[in-house]
């Protein structure tokens, strides 16, 4: 259990340590932050190997009483999906922190405090198995991110950060009403044991919530998640926030924060409000498909590289949402691996954009041209990230998009080929806008004198990029290492869905395993 607790709390402990360091001693602050986040990554690796990927249930489950009178417990645990996303968090965070060394120059102490606090809250979101605890972590993200964009952001940071804050809180306050209503209904009316926010207890009785109420609850939760994803047409905060945030902020925002929304959709909407999810799947899939095309088209006309990458997120996350609401094993598996992929490839793209911004202090595509000749290594890395984002076979992006598209095609719930066909167009558009941008920035004539003396990548920048490339190729060539982790928990979810919709169990072997592990959990609770 200790590695799990440490993975969650080490960043928090670190942030408190940072508070007590001398604010002028930048070196110690920087390196201790980096050290803490690398240590967290190493500890989470232990967790990764301890995890039993055959087990479809929640593992490492910890259940501590926290607030007795509203039965909000400190309940944390992980299933396959959580495991992958926690790994993504602990992996991206040190890279983002390393990139801060170049891009954050003032108020460093506050910055590193905020970023560790952010890592703590993000990890918490992915492991919370209590709805109240989940909500706390979900809201806790808001404060550090608000300051990171607002203090260390670009020219329009004020507008961007307020917009980010307001959008997020609109969603989450309605989720709060949903949380309380659900906890009251499940606790008092179904279980009869009084108000509770225990996720596992509620999940086991969630199918008894009447459909009419499920609809309301579905939207109370979903709107909050859709804003975070962001799903068209709730995406307008994203380009501003991404563009104005400092490089590490964008990396974390794109790499991890957006995944909280899609994670929430699977964890809460699909698992708890299954009937409502089935009912609204086509509607939401349409929005996802529109988002894919819209994001791609808008990205194509951007003049700012960072904004282009930001809009590409809208498009890519559309695939994830489509995969989720295809409600097939393949689609959801694809969505989960696509979350990781997007974190790696878009995170890398933002890092690369940040690197050239540090050298030239502009992100206008028109300012560049012929960079490939001046910075060949940089151009190579950029090409890898771009091809991963486009979905070139052999790199990670292809795997995820392919799986989600197959999911959309074969989905018995969507039951319509149109989703897959239109979404596949998005893949082509992605190739168009990214390759076009690449061509304008890296090829052509190098006639801007300001670009003539750009230096190629430093050692530190190599250190940031190489691990990302490693995983981009790894997932592209042999995705099973990672998809295995979420396979069984996804199958279990599909069993729940299909049982309610078609009254059949597509993966009976998972069903047989459930009873054993439930016993394990109850044993742990008794301890």
């Amino acid at each position: 259990m200790t590695p799990f607790i440490l993975t969650l709390f080490l960043p928090l402990i670190g942030s408190i340590i940072i508070l007590f360091l001398n604010k002028d001693n930048h070196k110690i602050i920087k390196y201790s932050t980096l050290f803490i986040s690398i240590l967290t990554f190493l500890i989470s690796l232990i967790l990764f190997f301890q995890f039993d990927s055959n087990n479809p249930n929640i593992q490492f489950y910890i259940n501590q009483i926290w607030i007795s009178s509203i039965d909000a417990g400190f309940r944390i645990g992980m299933d396959g999906m959580s495991m992958l996303l926690v790994m993504l968090t602990t992996f991206i965070s040190p890279i983002a922190i390393l990139s801060s060394f170049d891009s954050i120059h003032h108020r460093q102490k506050e910055y590193y405090f905020m970023i560790l606090l952010l890592q703590f809250a993000m990890t918490g979101v992915f492991v919370a198995m209590d709805i109240f605890l989940f909500y706390i972590f979900w809201e806790l993200i808001l404060i550090p991110m608000y300051f990171i964009i607002g203090i260390w952001g670009g020219k329009n940071k004020l507008y961007a950060t307020v917009k980010f804050f307001l959008f997020t809180i609109v969603g989450s306050l309605f989720m709060l009403v949903g949380v309380i209503w659900l906890a009251n209904y499940a606790g008092n009316n179904i279980l009869g044991t009084g108000f509770t926010t225990d996720f596992i207890k509620i999940r086991d009785v969630a199918s008894q919530i009447p459909f009419d109420n499920q609809v309301w609850l579905f939207w109370a939760f979903a709107v909050s998640f859709f804003i975070k994803v962001p799903l068209f047409p709730l995406h307008t905060w994203l380009p501003d926030a991404h563009t104005e945030a400092p490089t590490p902020g964008s990396v974390i925002l794109a790499g991890i924060l957006l995944k909280m929304g899609t994670y929430g959709l699977i964890r809460f909407n699909l698992e708890l409000f299954t009937q409502a999810s089935i009912n609204f799947a086509p509607l939401i899939s349409w929005f996802a498909v529109i988002g894919i095309i819209y994001g791609a088209l808008v990205a194509a006309v951007q003049v700012d590289i960072k904004r282009l990458v930001a809009y590409s997120s809208v498009s890519h996350l559309g695939f994830v949402v489509l995969g989720i609401f295809s409600m097939t094993a393949l689609g959801i598996q694809g969505a989960i691996i696509q979350m990781v992929n997007h974190g790696l490839s878009t995170g890398m793209l933002f890092l690369l954009v940040g690197m050239i911004y540090e050298r030239r202090h502009t992100r206008e595509i028109a300012e560049y041209g012929g960079i490939a000749r001046i910075m060949p290594v940089y151009a190579t890395f950029f090409a890898i990230a771009m091809f991963s984002s486009v979905g070139l076979p052999g790199l990670n992006g292809f795997v995820g998009e392919y799986m989600t598209l197959i999911g959309a095609f074969t989905s018995p719930i969507l039951n319509n080929w149109a989703f897959g066909i239109v979404a596949a167009l998005g893949v082509i558009f992605a190739a168009v806008y990214l390759l076009w941008m690449y061509q304008r920035v890296f090829f052509g004539t190098n006639d801007n004198p300001a670009n003539h003396h750009l230096t190629d990548l430093t050692k530190r920048e190599w250190t940031m990029l190489v691990p990302l490339v490693l995983f981009i190729v790894w997932i592209g060539v042999y995705p099973s290492t990672f998809t295995n982790y979420s396979e069984n928990s996804t199958r279990k979810l599909i069993n729940t869905i299909e049982k309610q919709k078609f009254n059949r169990v597509p993966f009976p072997e998972i069903e047989a395993m459930q009873s054993d592990t439930l016993n394990n959990i109850s044993k742990q609770i008794e301890k």
Binding site: W66, I151, L176, V177, N184
Partner: protein, 495 residues
């Protein structure tokens, strides 16, 4: 009753209120006796609050509540006594520096503070309408004087006069309502009134009118819509330290009165369905609905008006109106969870609102200078500690975790949903959304904006203690709610 028992009750249950009464008489005398020692009234007042906290904590932990000498003792009264004293201590530490800055360091201030505090305690302990009235008047009259304490300042005089005239009018409603309720039921004691109502020995018309009139009076005292108009003017004009005490502890005391009245005069929640057709049932249902409407209107209007304020004090004053609306949700629920929610939220509210007012009182200069929102620009650079503290108070007022305001709000929402007021919760959520904008606006000014002539490094002095109490309290209430929440629930379970 034999003498031993009386001595026992006096030395345990009665101790807090006896101490408070003694000191409120003693402090003015000390002021006269010791002309040389200028500090003594300050320390006497502090001592008073500390003893009340100590004895009430003892009562809360070791004794259950009783009713004796027309007073409720122990139980929930101890909980609120502690809250009032904490508010008193926090105000007290900020007071000295503030009065010196305004050149009004007169000792009468402390006497009045003690009287107001005693008034709150009497409201809190009262077991009949007459004592309730006495408490409300003692508290209000002290506040009338306190808000005009800086008597050479026009805005303060205006505040005081406005508060006095309107307050006297509201008192008229209150006392008329009490008289009618006495007429309708034949008693002024809460428990006897409740018993008469349960055995239907009452006059429904007079009860309804009496209850409505009392509602008006109490709504005025706690600045609930549509009787909230005095609050922004008074809260802005009064000395900042007075505002901090009056808008928190004073409000909490008014809500205790609300709880006492609604609890004893309205039907208990679990019996509404079986008695819905009786006149009592109808009065209850309609009053519940009316209070819910008042609650939602209060929070919406408070927050919407706060949006356009340029003056920090006025913004906080409107936000204080809005918070009265949130707390009223607990009155609407009229069950244990609602009352527990009120006490929890009051605790969090006292800490965050006084904290915010203390920061305001430190930053403002003589003659209402430096009270505008723009004056806070760049505060995080010139005074990082004050800015961080104000940031925490603002986030807590918004209701963001992991701060105390969030848990309080959560519990109030929970109680409203449990008693079937889902729509009220949704209104409260919308109101909170509106409030985000102006609370965050202050943080934007402090952290993201710069100022050409920054504020000098402000000497905190003793006010530092108030701010630290507030920050620690808010964090404890937000992260470890089990410190207070089970107590808050249990004291109301058998009252």
């Amino acid at each position: 009753m034999d003498i031993q028992l009386i001595t026992y009750i006096f030395s345990t249950y009665m101790l807090p209120i006896l101490v408070a009464s003694t000191f409120s008489v003693l402090v003015p005398l000390l002021d006269v006796w010791s002309k040389k020692n200028k500090q003594i009234v300050f320390y006497a007042t502090l001592f008073n609050f500390l003893i009340v906290i100590a004895s009430s904590t003892n009562l809360l932990i070791n004794y259950s509540n009783i009713k004796e000498f027309y007073l409720y003792l122990g139980g929930y009264t101890s909980l609120f006594d502690i809250l009032f004293s904490v508010a008193g201590i926090m105000t007290l530490f900020a007071t000295k520096q503030y009065l010196e800055k305004e050149n009004y360091n007169l000792k009468e201030f402390y006497s009045l503070l003690n009287f107001a505090f005693l008034g709150m305690m009497i409201i809190n302990h009262s077991a009949n309408l007459l004592l309730l009235f006495l408490g409300i008047e003692l508290m209000s009259i002290s506040f009338f004087v306190l808000s005009g304490f800086i008597r050479t300042k026009m805005s303060a005089i205006e505040a005081s006069l406005k508060y006095f005239l309107l307050g006297a009018f509201a008192t008229g409603f209150l006392v008329y309502g009490m008289a009618l309720i006495y007429g309708a039921t034949g008693s002024i004691e809460y428990t006897i009134i409740a018993r008469k109502l349960a055995t239907s020995q009452f006059d429904a018309t007079f009860l309804a009118i009496g209850f409505a009139l009392m509602l008006v009076g109490l709504a005025f005292k706690s600045s609930v819509f549509p009787f909230h108009n005095w609050a922004p003017d008074v809260y802005t004009g009064a000395p900042t330290v007075v505002t901090s005490f009056m808008s928190t502890a004073g409000k909490a005391a008014s809500f205790v009165a609300f709880i006492l009245i609604t609890k004893h005069i309205l039907l208990p929640n679990d019996k509404i369905e079986e008695l819905a057709t009786t006149s009592w049932g109808m009065i209850t249902e309609q009053s519940g609905f009316i209070i819910a409407i008042l609650s939602s209107a209060t929070m919406l209007i408070g927050n919407i008006t706060a949006l356009v304020q340029k003056n920090v004090k006025r913004m906080l004053a409107y936000s204080s109106v809005a918070h009265a609306g949130y707390i009223l949700m607990g009155v609407v629920s009229n069950n244990v969870d609602g009352w527990a929610g009120i006490s929890y939220y009051s605790a969090a509210y006292i800490l965050m609102q006084i904290g915010a007012f203390v920061v305001v009182s430190l930053i403002e200069k003589q003659d209402d200078n430096r009270l505008n929102l723009e004056d806070y620009n760049g505060l995080s650079k010139s005074n990082p500690f004050l800015a961080a503290a104000m940031g925490i108070f603002m986030f807590s007022l918004v209701g963001l975790p992991p701060f105390g305001g969030f848990i309080g709000k959560y519990y109030l929402f929970l109680s409203a949903i449990e008693s079937g007021y889902l729509w009220l919760t949704i209104v409260a959520v919308i109101a909170s959304l509106i409030s985000v904008y102006f609370y965050i606006g202050l943080i934007i000014n402090m952290y993201f904006r710069e100022q050409s002539n920054p504020i000098e490094k402000i000497h905190l002095g003793m006010a530092n203690i108030s701010i630290i109490i507030a920050i620690v309290g808010i964090l404890v209430l937000g992260i470890l709610p089990d410190v207070l929440l089970p107590t808050a629930t249990s004291v109301f379970t058998n009252f």
